[in-house]
Amino acid sequence: MSERIKEHPILGVQEKGKSVKFTFDGKELEGYEGEPIAAALKANGVMVHRYTRKEHKPRGIFCAIGRCTDCVMVVNGVPNVRTCITPLVEGMEVCTQYGVSAKPFEEQ
């Protein structure tokens, strides 16, 4: 996970929860328990969280504090979950959101 800051000149080594496994579009990834889902995805290089309903445009993290709703995804089958403020839990199923569904537009 090269996108993690291992040691910071001011903050030192940031403490993390325990390492957990979760899936992103069915693929198994690792993250830390309790960190926002979006942080775990970013650490794994995932940029696109969803595609808009009408124009099918990609969206990703924008505000990171739960205000803009750009980062919403389908989590454990529930759409529109703001991943930047939802803590990661072992075994979570996280899926790219197409419109309001986890199914790509071609299959909707």
Binding site: H8, K42, H49, A64, I65, G66
Partner: protein, 525 residues
Amino acid sequence: MKRYDLVIVGAGPSGLSAAIEAAKKGMKVVVFDENEKPGGQLFKQIHKFFGSKEHRAKIRGFVIGQQLLEEAGEAGVEVVLNATVIGLYQDKEVVVRKGDRVEHYKGNAVIIATGAAENMVTFPGWTLPGVIGAGAAQTMMNIHGVLPGKRVLMLGSGNVGLVVSFQLEQCGCEVAAIVDAAPRVGGYGVHAAKVARTGVPFYLSHTVVEAEGEDHVTGVTIAEIDSNFQFIPGTEKHFDVDTICVAVGLSPMSQLLKMAGCKMEDDPKRGGQVPICDPYGRTSLPGVFAAGDVAGIEEASSAMIEGRMAGIVAAEYLGYIDEEELKSELASLDEALNGLRQGMFAPQNRGKAIEKTEEGIDISESLLKNGYVADDEIEKYPGVTHKTGIHPVIECTQNIPCNPCQDACKKGCISIGSKITSLPIVVDDSECINCGMCVASCSGQAIFLVDESCQDGTATVTLPYEFLPLPEAGTKGKGLGRDGKVVCDAEVVSVKSMKAFDKTNLLTIRVPREYAMKARFFKVV
């Protein structure tokens, strides 16, 4: 419905400071914040603050946050997290959403300290993943420990853009450029200079033409604009970046005040829609107060004082203190706040082009255009002097409310005087003992220790260094100028890290003597 003497919305520096004051006066206080953790913006800020001792200057933002939380705990303040206030009514009823539940509270007094939201600008491609707010970048790197990107273009040269650019570099990201549509750097010169000397170019009077990429940002094109904000053809520049960070200002989050029926006004100097209120945060509704960024965009240091004022005023409103006590407490806070609202960046000077310092010296044009003071300008400032033996060189060239350097030097080498915005000067006949405290205490990383009189035709330059990996003594590399360009060979002579330096390491490099006043950063090349 649960009742409190005082309900505060927002657990940032202003809300917490208000809560502490009010609780100390014996009031029953609750603070609601929508986040999982309290502290507002403070926990994202890892640099040393400006101001003077009473404003907690030279302490890093997140440490101030910890201090406030401790004080709030001791004072018996109840802080409720994950609690978003969605309604405020004239009778001071507060509606709070916690998860799926909605609860109603009643405050005999209410303080709104909701802070600000980031502004946005639009350009083709602005919705692409990889275009993020500066606040998001800070949250990711400083709270969650994840890199916001590998190569970043910063849009905005205000203090937020400058500070976040430096923070990005500190966690290992490369900042490709700082871009601003304005013709002058908006933030403090010292913040700009510490980024510029690492090699980040500034493009003023430029803005983004387009963010490129299919699914996420892969590049960006910027171009120069004329005074009518029209692109000048042929001035396009392209950067390969994976992230565009937007720091184009903040707007007060004043919706709750409006909803409650407070009289509002549009005040560009305060950042947008703000409540009409007196200097202590009293709005048009009796018992409803505003403090911090929501009442006008400023800084954490002023937000803390405004919070304390609002807490005290609320205490008087409910009869916990009398008018006498109110007056005397406000008087000392007035003075503290006044101290911060001075100098070239003071609220009353926003938008003005200031050409001379209070001392009558020309403000560096290069600093405002390129982010650094040019070599042929630097000797004009009173902190830059020559001497035999080691001595401080203070490259602090604008009037800002800040004075930790003066307090840091126990040998009396540095003086600002009683006016906090005066430029620091090197005191004649003072003797520097090379303790390094001034370098480490300077919030703007603007102080260097220079010894131009080494026997062998070399000079040593000691500079503040807050990056990893920390070079070791003996490491050979290049000295970079104020503009971030290589000027000479350099070798690290020593690296000092002490607890009293609070994570600012002191790197001493040896350079040819003629570069003593030019080399200001070190890079292993």
